[in-house]
């Protein structure tokens, strides 16, 4: 290059320097080392330990909640309804809370539950002289087969699928039939807080395997009460034998009303928007859709009424998240927060509030989009409505959420 001007310009600028842009190195570093080492280091053994402890706790609680609380759900009640009192079999069963309140009115007696399915067979076996009176009722003979209990072929089966459960008037009517009677002895005999350990264990074992469905049974069964399926420690049984056996009129026992409520595992789908707060923390919100299904079977005499209750909820969750581990294609995190839900397919007016804690695994589909599965625990507050749902029967329950998440960076 024989150009004095250009040569001198080149020489002049040969070692010229300008300040590099601010933050350039950190950008370069992030590009050259895409996997942030500090984040890996942050996932120290104690976090693994706490994650493992949380998982164990979750499994224990899930097992516990899957096996229904006998005190609340396994209410076996006696309602010596005469056939003429004509309990409408189309009515829905009482909620356990209402049953509990009925107990105070001395109409319904909780009895110590046994393992599912045996509940009703025990009195038949232990008091043979009463089998004759029970024989006209086919469902009473369905021993030890809880799945068949309510649907013998000879029975008239009425099925309905109302979206909104019917008002539970039946129980009020039941309560009024015996206002004049003194059941105080049976009240005191009932030790519904003292559940047999073995029966509890067996329930847990049997229900823990059926994680997709929960079940609870409310029976109004005079035979069961009087013939020993209940707590044999019952003082009422021994102290007032005549009173105890009094309702064992065939006509009366024929009017037994049984309710079997099975809650299906809730299904929840969510669309979530996640914003990082700094460090491993982030906040997220979005929309969630939850489907609750319960099958409620009411048996009265030879009439079986089955209702399938379907409730759909739309909710807005707000959660705080903490990342435990992450790489290009997946992310493991903990999440906790609250949610407000509104029932959109029924007449439940009040909002349903809940608290949620979960551990989630997200698979990234792109830079900002991912799909996730979040097993966790949820606690639902009572919404004050009379409709019986899994949330009411088991406020603290296992919850699996599936969804898609948009992450803003």
């Amino acid at each position: 290059m024989k150009d004095d001007l250009l040569n001198s310009i080149k020489d002049r600028l040969d070692s010229y320097e300008e300040s590099a842009p601010e933050g350039l190195w950190s950008d370069i570093e992030a590009s050259v080392f895409p996997k942030e080492k500090p984040r890996k280091a942050a996932f120290v053994p104690w976090m693994w330990l706490s994650a493992a402890a949380a998982a164990v706790a979750a499994v224990l609680i899930v097992t516990n909640t899957l096996s229904n609380d006998p005190k609340e759900d396994r209410i076996v009640a006696q309602t010596d309804i005469t056939p003429s009192s004509s309990v409408n079999p189309g009515d829905d069963p009482a909620s356990s809370e209402e049953l509990a309140s009925l107990l105070a009115d001395a109409d319904v007696m909780p009895v110590e539950p046994a393992a599912p399915g045996r509940v009703r067979s025990m009195p038949v076996k232990s008091v043979p002289e009463n089998q004759a009176s029970l024989e006209p009722e086919p469902e009473m003979a369905a021993e030890a087969e809880p799945d068949l209990v309510l649907e013998p072929e000879s029975e008239m089966v009425v099925e309905a699928e109302p979206t909104v459960p019917v008002e539970q008037e039946q129980d009020r009517r039941v309560a009024t039939n015996h206002d004049g009677e003194d059941w105080s002895g049976y009240m005191s005999a009932t030790d519904d807080g003292d559940t047999g350990f073995l029966s509890r264990i067996s329930m847990k074992a049997s229900l823990a395997g059926a994680a997709t469905q929960s079940q609870d049974v409310s029976n109004y069964d005079p035979a069961m009460f009087y013939y020993g399926s209940g707590d044999t420690r019952s003082s009422g049984y021994t102290e007032e034998p005549t009173r105890a056996f009094a309702p064992m009129d065939p006509l009366i026992s024929a009017s037994s009303v049984e309710t079997d409520t099975r809650h299906h595992r809730p299904v929840r789908m969510s669309l979530t928007f996640h914003m990082p707060l700094g460090g491993v923390f982030g906040v997220e919100t979005g929309a969630s859709y939850t489907l609750l299904r319960s099958t409620i079977t009411t048996t009265s005499g030879s009439t079986v009424n089955r209702n399938i209750q379907t409730l759909k909820y739309l909710g807005i969750p707000v959660n705080l998240t903490a990342g435990l581990y992450g790489n290009d294609w997946c992310r493991l995190y903990l999440s906790g927060g609250g949610m407000a839900e509104k029932c959109v397919s029924g007449e439940i007016k009040p909002l349903l509030w809940s608290l949620n804690a979960a551990a989630g695994l997200q698979v990234n589909l792109g830079r900002s989009l991912g799909i996730y599965a979040e097993p966790g625990l949820s606690y639902h507050f009572d919404d004050g409505s009379p409709v019986r749902t899994i949330y009411k029967d088991r406020p603290l329950d296992f919850m699996m959420t599936l969804g898609a998440r948009m992450s803003f960076r």
Binding site: M1, S15, Y16, L24
Partner: protein, 189 residues
């Protein structure tokens, strides 16, 4: 800043080649400002400059195994080559999106008196080059600083050799005029 002693530089390159983050940081600290000055003569726009510098360093660190150390200054020259290539890539990309902008010609200037740049601060000359129209600036940079021939420039920029020569001539005249203007202005003070 500046140039590292040969032995040290050789070792640092070796460490950086093995993925040593601190060695890469040392190389960056040593040459980032120099490459910033080089690239900003091609791309005065701060945003584009930053993009090009980032791409250049990522490219440099990921290509270290292709680099052969040939004594003092060889690393600097190699890094400079990579960053100029990145700058040209950016310019070509922009041109392909907006071809109209590639109209470089300005009215022919009268031949300027040959100026003396001896006492003009380097920063002022740098700014004068940055203020040239992009076409002039690119050809002048490649010709004067990268010592490319018009043939090479024509291939790099996708223009003819005569266009390259014409652009250089105009760029040189424009620069000479600005230098003379600057000198007149400073002499008056």
């Amino acid at each position: 800043m500046g140039v590292l002693a040969e032995d040290i530089e050789r070792k640092i390159v070796e460490r950086a080649r093995n993925g040593d983050r601190s060695a890469m940081k040392q190389i960056y600290d040593c040459y980032a400002n120099y490459l910033t000055a080089t690239c900003s003569r091609y791309l005065p726009d701060k945003g584009e400059l930053r993009d090009v510098l980032q791409d250049s360093f990522v490219n440099i660190f990921s290509s270290l195994d292709k680099f052969t150390y040939r004594g003092e200054g060889s690393l600097k020259a190699w890094m400079r080559q990579i960053s100029v290539n990145e700058a040209l890539k950016k310019i070509r990309k922009r041109k392909s999106r907006n071809t109209l902008e590639y109209k470089w010609d300005l009215p022919e200037l009268e031949n300027e008196e040959e100026p003396d740049v001896g006492d003009i601060p380097a920063r002022v000359i740098q700014e004068m080059i940055q203020e040239l129209p992009e076409g002039y600036r690119t050809v002048l940079n490649l010709y004067a600083f990268e010592e490319k021939s018009h043939k090479e420039i024509s291939e790099l920029l996708g223009i003819t050799e005569s266009t390259s020569a014409s652009q250089l001539h105009r760029a040189r005249n424009l620069l000479a005029k600005r230098i003379n203007d600057y000198k007149k202005k400073t002499e008056k003070r």
